[in-house]
Symmetry: C2
Subunit: 341 residues, 2 copies
């Protein structure tokens, strides 16, 4: 079979660090295995426009591997041209860059490596919550510029203890965040999700469901977004909703940017002058934005590289996939994580 | 009585934010209460040299209040001159800026507001561990300068899950860190402390004691320092000990700088060209240094301002202090937190 992969550039870093598996340079570490099985394997980061690697090679590819970190957009248009395509595999979690409805209609499987980086992202979200609440960035920048003015950073620094934390989405990542926050003596944990946690799962993390989104955000000191991007979540956090947030609340979106602002959908990654890069609160804090790397720690890369290989192996051998990895299978959608109720 | 306090400058921030209690501007919020009790209350940030406020007013002060954030050093020399001094109260936790041996010899009480910011510092340490392991700072700086090169930051980004975390000091802060890290699926928790945890406390956080410091650090991916500064810990983490660290280990010192390098004792805060401000690993990460503000979040300030008031109230009324707040009482050292075994 012809397998193509769209990965991000690794450059010198990938040469120096073989654990950077998710790069063009290190090819998820599956080339020799794929070739030993007699498959063809082509890898590139070139994915935009009709002359790109992706657009040219998807035409006769059997399998296309993509990642959320440098997403190869698999549009309906591309799927129409991909006559041999049998499966899209996301090396990582989050397949919103694939037109899932179109894939389902065509009987093309879509897989992702469920669990490969949910812990990574949950850790990143907890870190981001702490560094926003505790006002880390201005404090560290003060250090770097040579100052030491405690009052200027302490004035916006709080403890997480005693705060109300709410997650939009209490799935694999959101739930892990709630788990990790258990010992922090928060005042309350809330969640907004179209799926209710089982009573046992809810009790285990002491989280209450709020069914109305505006009522939900109005109660939260910290709102963390852990939902996939789909039509139901695109632009969900907009001016209208923000008006219901508590004054001074902290918003951590480690999911997809477009959940927060419909205008920014087209731009991924954020352009150099994107306002989210430099926006800040009145005292210089409130911004902990980073490139999309939370789910691609070296630990996560190892897991999603191995998982990608397992998905492919199962696929080649006609073995069943791990159920949770299947977004769309032979019967269409196999998950309701992308907005299906 | 004459009560003097050495606090840090609040400037405009303190005027705008009354919750910045620990500043010269807001005076721990105890002036009107103190004056209603008939006491004199003088506050300043001026603490260095013979002509400073501290050196002049300590001579006939009955009580001196200091903080660890802008420490008024109460040396033996000053204590010799302080003929009326009955008590030193630390608004916060950590009284290493007071010559405790000299205070004990003179029968001067030393109090601190135990617990007022142990949670704040524990949260800060967990945040620092996460942001070092996950390589946050270079990732955020990349954002601010307009780049988006995932591989350059992912190459040094790891998950906390599966790592060995060890704390030097498993007391009020160190233990709270271990508690907060419980859900992170770390590989192992270790502690080095001259006091063993009770079997119950050790089991509750799954932490193993390592009695040899070199053997301890050699096993840790993350070393977090949570010990007071005293003669037994000053310069404890030095070249010789660092040689026993795992390669690539992360070191988080949210205690006192001087625990890490004897040469730096004299300088607090760090001078503008202090190497700790700008030091970084080969790929730009490894530095999450901030000014000393972790224990002075607004939540913590409220607690230690109230606690300072309670200490003073008990003192004035001849009521017993909360035992844990007493560092040195009528019988000398009332704690073994400062190196007394």
């Amino acid at each position: 079979m012809k397998v193509i992969a769209i990965l991000y550039k690794g450059g010198k870093a990938a040469k120096q660090e073989p654990r950077l598996l998710g790069t063009v340079g290190n090819e998820l570490g599956i080339r020799s295995w794929l070739e030993s099985r007699g498959h063809e394997y082509l890898v590139s980061d070139d994915k935009e426009g009709p002359d790109s690697f992706l657009h040219k090679h998807i035409i006769d590819a059997d399998i296309v591997i993509t990642t959320p970190f440098h997403p190869g957009y698999i549009t309906k248009d591309l799927l129409d041209k991909a006559k041999n395509l049998k499966a899209c595999a996301t090396a990582g979690v989050g397949s919103d860059h694939v037109d899932l409805n179109a894939a389902a209609a065509k009987g093309i499987d879509v897989f992702e490596v469920t669990g490969s980086n949910v812990v990574s992202v949950a850790e990143h979200a907890v870190m981001s919550i702490l560094l926003l609440v505790r006002n880390f960035v201005p404090a560290h920048e003060m250090i770097k510029r040579g100052d030491w003015i405690v009052s200027d950073v302490a004035r916006d620094a709080f403890d997480l203890e005693g705060k109300v934390v709410g997650t939009i989405g209490a799935g694999r990542i959101g739930y892990r965040i709630l788990q990790r926050l258990q010992p922090f003596n928060c005042k309350e944990f809330l969640y907004y999700d179209y799926n209710a946690l089982t009573p046992e799962a809810g009790q285990a993390v002491g989280a209450w469901r709020v069914e109305d989104l505006e009522a939900f955000v109005a109660q939260c000191d910290v709102v963390t977004i852990n939902a996939p991007l789909h039509e139901g979540t695109r632009g969900m956090v907009n001016k209208e909703l923000l008006a219901h947030f508590k004054e001074g609340a902290w918003l951590v979106n480690t999911a997809r940017g477009a959940i927060c602002n419909a205008d920014d959908v087209a731009a991924a990654p954020a352009p150099r002058d994107h306002p989210w890069r430099t926006m800040q609160g009145p005292h210089g804090g409130g911004n902990g934005m980073v490139p999309h790397y939370s789910g691609t720690t070296l630990d996560a890369q190892r897991r999603y590289a191995e998982g990608t290989r397992e998905i492919l192996e199962n696929f080649f051998d006609g073995k069943p996939q791990i159920a949770a990895n299947v977004i769309i299978g032979s019967k269409g959608y196999a998950t309701n994580s992308y907005g299906q109720r």
